[in-house]
């Protein structure tokens, strides 16, 4: 028997009915991407501000008050006066404040006597991500206060650093996150839904039934996967439209190149989902493996938030076997930089190789398990 599109089409039709009949799955499959785009678009802000700062002014002089004011008016801190240094420590221990400014008695006297005067700043190191920015704010404020209150001229650094932030001149966090979201949304829809739908047929025993009909195994697979491939592509289109219209993110690259990347990635992940479901034949297990091998890597190891370059050497190489890592590069570069196909040659060839390997392994395994 040979492959017939009509039979594959019939299976696909059945699968579409499955999805359509079940409004829960449909809403979630469409709702999840929508929800994620909006949460990400509106909630994520990498620029650290509104830091709660406990202040204890043990000096109560004009100078100390001006230092306190320098912190308050910087726009980065929310000032929270406390009655003692101990209370400031307790506020940090209880997560009420992120930092504390402790001005000792004699602060102004030391300054006027010509010596340099010192106030202490304590930072909460349990939240690593905010410490770096706070340190740089504090050193800026130190300079400003020194110029204003002390007789201080900052070293006239003879090199003036002029920074140009390319491809995202306003340092907008959304421009960074939303193109990456394409990858994560696709990963969820493709790996998980495919893994589940095929495993479900097995668990219910309907796979055996299907196989005993004149439908070819390949037709079953194409039919079962096609609706989810469409769903995955629809999700990408959706994220793309929202990114361009609602969030005004530029798209500098070629849509064809980006589309090719999407197709390769989708094929790789659908094959991975299929492989998982053939190997496990159980929804619960398929789900767990899908999360572990498809979803978490796409979220954590692809460079979506945590840069691949910062990983230890082993992981920089290890991530090369993840389709998501390559597609992340393609998505970001296509949106923001307009990199061409040849310039992304490495990413595209890696993605194609991984895609081929996954599709081959999945179809081999499927054939071995199913064909008489």
């Amino acid at each position: 028997m040979s492959f017939l599109w009509s039979r594959a089409g019939a299976i696909a039709q059945k699968e579409v009915y499955h999805v359509l009949r079940d409004p829960f799955t449909l809403t979630l499959a469409i709702g999840l991407p929508v929800f994620m785009v909006f949460v990400f678009g509106y909630a994520i802000e990498f620029n650290v501000k509104d830091i709660h700062l406990a202040i204890h002014d043990g000096d109560q002089t004009r100078t100390s008050r001006q230092v306190v004011e320098a912190f308050g008016s910087s726009g980065y801190f929310i000032v929270d006066p406390v009655s003692s240094p101990n209370q400031a420590m307790r506020h940090i221990a209880g997560d009420q404040d992120r930092a504390a400014l402790l001005i000792p008695g004699g602060f102004q006297k030391d300054l006027f006597s010509g010596r340099s005067t010192t106030a202490q700043v304590l930072l909460d190191g349990s939240d690593n991500s905010t410490v770096g920015p706070i340190l740089s704010y504090v050193s800026t404020i130190q300079n400003i206060a020194s110029v204003k209150l002390g007789d201080y001229t900052p070293p006239s650094s003879e090199i003036v650093l002029k920074t140009r932030f390319l491809f995202n001149p306003e340092l907008n966090s959304r421009w960074f996150v939303i193109p990456g979201l394409v990858v994560v949304v696709m990963a969820i829809l493709s790996v998980l839904l495919t893994a589940l739908t095929v495993a479900r047929e097995w668990e219910n025993g309907s796979m055996e039934l299907l196989l005993s009909t004149p439908v070819e195994p390949l037709e079953i697979i194409v039919g079962k996967i096609a609706p989810y491939a469409v769903l995955g592509m629809a999700a990408v289109a959706f994220v793309y439209v929202i990114a361009r219209t609602v969030f005004g993110i530029p798209f500098e690259g070629s849509l064809w190149v980006f589309g090719l990347g999407c197709v390769l990635f989708l094929a790789a992940y659908l094959a991975q989902g299929l492989l998982i479901s053939v190997a496990t034949r159980k929804q619960q297990l398929a789900m767990q493996i899908g999360i572990m091998s498809g979803l978490l890597p796409a979220q954590l190891l692809s460079g979506f938030i945590f840069p691949v370059e910062s990983m230890p050497a082993f992981f920089r190489y290890f991530t090369m076997i993840l389709p998501a890592r390559w597609f992340m590069t393609i998505a970001r570069q296509s949106f923001l930089k307009g990199t061409t196909l040849t310039e992304m040659g490495a990413a595209f060839s890696a993605l194609s190789i991984l895609c081929l390997i996954l599709v081959r392994t999945a179809s081999k395994r499927f054939k071995k398990d199913l064909e008489p």
């Binding site: 949460v39 300054l111 909460d124 190191g125 090199i159 920074t163 990199t339």
Partner: protein, 366 residues
């Protein structure tokens, strides 16, 4: 009644643990994941490919470049001569470039002030800002050394100390986050799928017609997953402390109590999801609809302080954010009693509400 419940629990354990692959997933996978993600992910900015046109006559620029690539932050990317740095950045061959004024930085400095241009790929916002900061501090050091400039004494000094994690170990911060996330993931997904599987297989109807009460069904379905979830806690905690050296400054029992309450909360939410979902696929999607925002808004990936006010409220409803705050507070800060009690209380409240809702849904639907 107790014996029915016991039988129920036994059956559930057998079902969950019968498959050796499932056992692997439950007990080995969290350890592997914990190690992998704990090692791999960080917010650090490292290995930025920095490019500058080689020019042996321009000693100041060479020094700046040398210092940069000697630091752990930058990697040298000396590619071709006479190329447009913008093109290199756009094609993704480099991440940042130093462009001296025409005639070279050293010559320009001889005449007075000199502009040094830094081009940086700002696709990743955090990275770009850090790169600017690094280069700024390196240039001022080089200027100080090369031109023998003595910086004047600063009159007002803000002496900064970083508490709890003075060396800024990333793992201290990331590992508790990964830990909370894994516990949440395992419990929610397992619980929500367990009841929906019965529904899908039709065995749920059988259960209802059997002489057991709704209370017994719910308890029998949830207790095993609380136990399984809790059995993961020491494994994951062990990796955190012994592999990553995250300090355990608070009392172990406080952390265990907090974990217990958290596991109860997530199992209760999993149950709630499964009372709504009719099939395993729905349960999966339902779990995701919960898990995604829960992970993203927990403070694991983005600092919560910066979110807009309505999002802070959403994250207040996120059990994971409370547990993450608890784990960090107990492990790194020793657990401030008032803080711990408040957040454990909130978690417990969430558990009670979800149990009550699923109980009533269970009653009305069955």
């Amino acid at each position: 009644m107790m014996s029915t419940l016991r039988g129920f629990i036994q059956k559930e354990f057998k079902q969950a643990l019968r498959d050796p692959r499932m056992r692997m997933l439950l007990f080995v996978a969290p350890i592997i994941q914990m190690t992998l993600f704990g090692v791999a992910i960080s917010n650090d900015v490292k290995n930025i490919r920095l490019w500058a046109q080689p020019d042996s006559k321009d000693s100041v620029l060479e020094h700046i470049y040398q210092r940069s690539v000697e630091s752990k932050w930058f990697l040298p990317a000396r590619i071709d001569r006479n190329v447009d740095p913008y093109e290199l950045l756009r094609s993704g061959k480099i991440d940042a470039a130093l462009v001296p004024p025409p005639g070279g930085l050293t010559r320009a400095l001889g005449r007075g002030k000199a502009d040094l241009q830094l081009l940086v790929n700002a696709t990743n916002v955090i990275q770009a800002q850090s790169v600017e900061g690094y280069i700024r501090s390196i240039t001022s050091q080089v200027v100080r050394d090369d031109l023998k400039q003595v910086p004047p004494v600063i009159p007002i000094r803000l002496d900064t100390r970083v508490l709890y994690n003075p060396t800024l170990e990333t793992s201290y911060f990331m590992v508790p986050g990964v830990m909370s996330m894994l516990i949440c993931l395992v419990t929610i997904v397992l619980t929500s799928m367990s009841i929906s599987r019965e529904k899908e297989m039709g065995t749920f109807e059988m259960l209802i017609s059997a002489p057991v009460t709704a209370f017994e069904v719910i308890m029998g379905k949830t207790i095993p997953y609380v136990v399984l979830g809790m059995s993961n806690v020491p494994l994951i905690l062990g990796v955190a402390v012994f592999v990553f050296g995250v300090p355990m400054r608070g009392y172990l029992w406080v952390l265990l109590v907090a974990s217990f309450v958290f596991v109860c909360t997530t199992v209760a939410i999993g149950t709630l999801i499964s009372t709504i979902a009719g099939s395993q696929q729905q349960a999966t999607l339902g779990s995701f609809l919960f898990l995604f925002p829960a992970i993203l808004l927990s403070g694991l990936m983005f600092p919560l302080e910066n979110m807009p006010e309505p999002m802070k409220w959403v994250s207040f409803l996120d059990p994971l954010s409370h547990f993450l705050a608890l784990v960090r507070n107990i492990m790194l800060k020793g657990g401030e009693p008032e803080f711990v009690i408040r957040h454990v209380g909130i978690l417990a409240l969430m558990a009670v509400v979800s149990v009550l809702v699923s109980f009533s849904r269970f009653r009305t639907h069955v």
